[in-house]
């Protein structure tokens, strides 16, 4: 295999997005230095079954007392991880974190007045299967307020961290839920300028994937960078 395709920066938010105020002092001024990929960019950490067990993808129960479960709208969040050529990414680690159904995170820095759910931790992880599929069982997170403008609300969202097969594919993102009216008002969603790209962040309601009389389902497919299938060693510049 060769290099990863160069990143399509039009898909991504710029470092500086003034409407998301925290980015103003946390964005580099200088242009990123473009680097040919070497072995350290093409490779990345490998994970296995020992890193994520079946209980780790069930957020309804992974922090619950025996016989109890988390409060909220029960959902299956599922999808497929592929690269830019549509090839599935097997055995890649996905980690998620989210607020509870009331919009409160189990995090020492979250002081929102909505209560914690004693049966909900809000974090999980899983490996994709051989065909790149993944699934989490969780509750739909609530919207929550934050200080950007004086009164700003995040749409319901789940944070996802995905590794891929090499560090060049490393990605952290957030998925939103189809039909949420807050998506249109969110300055973080709108750090992504391209409308089609923003739409790729919205998980689709999928009635076919619901668990009858148990959980509703949302599908969120993830695309990481594609890769040349033939390695061509570049000549040194000027050589």
């Amino acid at each position: 295999m060769g290099d990863y395709y160069q990143r399509d920066w039009g898909q991504h938010p710029p470092a500086l997005s003034p409407d998301y105020k925290t980015s103003v002092a946390r964005s580099p001024n200088a242009a990123l230095l473009s680097l040919p990929q070497g072995v350290g960019e093409i490779t990345g950490p490998c994970f296995g079954a020992g890193d994520a067990g079946p209980e780790d993808r069930d957020l309804i129960h992974n922090h619950a007392r025996p016989g109890e479960s988390a409060i909220g709208e029960r959902i299956v969040l599922y999808g497929r991880v592929m690269d830019g050529d549509g090839r599935p990414l097997p055995r890649t680690l996905i980690e998620i974190w989210q607020a509870n159904a009331g919009g409160r995170y189990r995090h020492r820095n979250d002081g929102y007045l909505a209560p914690l759910d004693p049966n909900f931790g809000g974090t999980g992880r899983t490996l994709t299967d051989e065909a790149g599929h993944y699934a989490f069982h969780t509750v739909k997170p609530g919207a929550y307020p934050w200080r950007n403008w004086a009164n700003t609300w995040r749409p319901a969202h789940i944070h996802l961290s995905i590794f891929g097969a090499g560090f060049a594919q490393r990605l952290i993102t957030q998925c939103y839920f189809e039909g949420d009216p807050l998506i249109a008002h969110c300055p973080i969603v709108h750090t992504v300028a391209d409308e089609e790209a923003r739409a790729a962040l919205v998980a689709a309601l999928d009635l076919n994937a619901t668990i009858p009389f148990d959980s509703i389902a949302y599908r969120f497919d993830i695309v990481l960078r594609g890769r040349r299938s033939t390695p061509f060693e570049n000549r040194q510049e000027g050589a």
Binding site: M1, A25, P28, N29, A30, L33
Partner: protein
């Protein structure tokens, strides 16, 4: 008009936000009842090479510490091999070469314990000086920032490093080189400036 190529577009990045620790470093978030954290041991007990510590702070454009950042490290072992099928060969059992460290919520300091990596091959038969690849995410960072840390006691290798040599403004190369302080373990200090006159060099690859 031509037939569309139909490549799939990469999923857009979104900031890791203020609560990234809940997902990636649960202990820092205050979550006691959670599966074992990943990335707490970069090298494992059997790794060869010199045991070192790396510590530093991340600062924003005003000079204030970024106290909610999270840093990931990816590195070769002492033989210059990565723990990956395309990483150049086998590595010691338990060597993953990857880890993560949250910044301290009070002070903004971060630290990792690892082994010093060896030089790594580069194109055209060249070699890269020993270095770590770092990836920084935080609230206010819309897409993870990639940089590298080189070692302050590797002057000759650093001077010949093809990546450092690509940095046009020579004075900015120093932003990637961590001075060494002897001790037990020897400690390299690597501060990261997200923005400003002493801004760290960040990469696109």
């Amino acid at each position: 008009m031509a037939k569309p190529l139909n490549y799939l577009k990469e999923t857009p990045s979104q900031t890791a936000g203020p609560y990234v620790h809940l997902g990636l470093a649960a202990g820092a978030a205050g979550l006691t009842q959670a599966p074992a954290e990943l990335g707490t041991d970069i090298a494992g007990p059997k790794a060869q090479g010199e045991r070192i510590r790396i510590e530093g702070i991340v600062r924003d454009g005003t000079g204030a510490p970024v106290r909610d950042a999270l840093i990931e490290v990816w590195q070769a072992n002492a033989q210059g091999r990565y723990a990956h099928p395309e990483g150049g060969g086998p590595v010691e059992p338990g060597f993953r070469g990857w880890g993560r460290a949250p910044c301290d919520f009070e002070t903004g300091h971060w630290a990792v314990d690892t082994v010093k990596p060896g030089p790594v091959p580069w194109r055209g038969g060249m070699r890269q000086a020993p270095h770590l690849s770092l990836w920084i995410v935080a609230r206010g960072i819309n897409i993870g920032l990639s940089t590298r840390m080189y070692f302050g006691d590797e002057d000759a290798a650093n001077a010949a490093d093809p990546i450092l040599g690509m940095i046009e403004q020579a004075q900015r190369r120093a932003t990637l080189i961590a001075p060494r302080e002897d001790g037990s373990p020897p400690t390299y200090h690597f501060d990261i400036a997200l923005q400003g006159a002493d801004e760290t060099v960040f990469f696109d690859f």
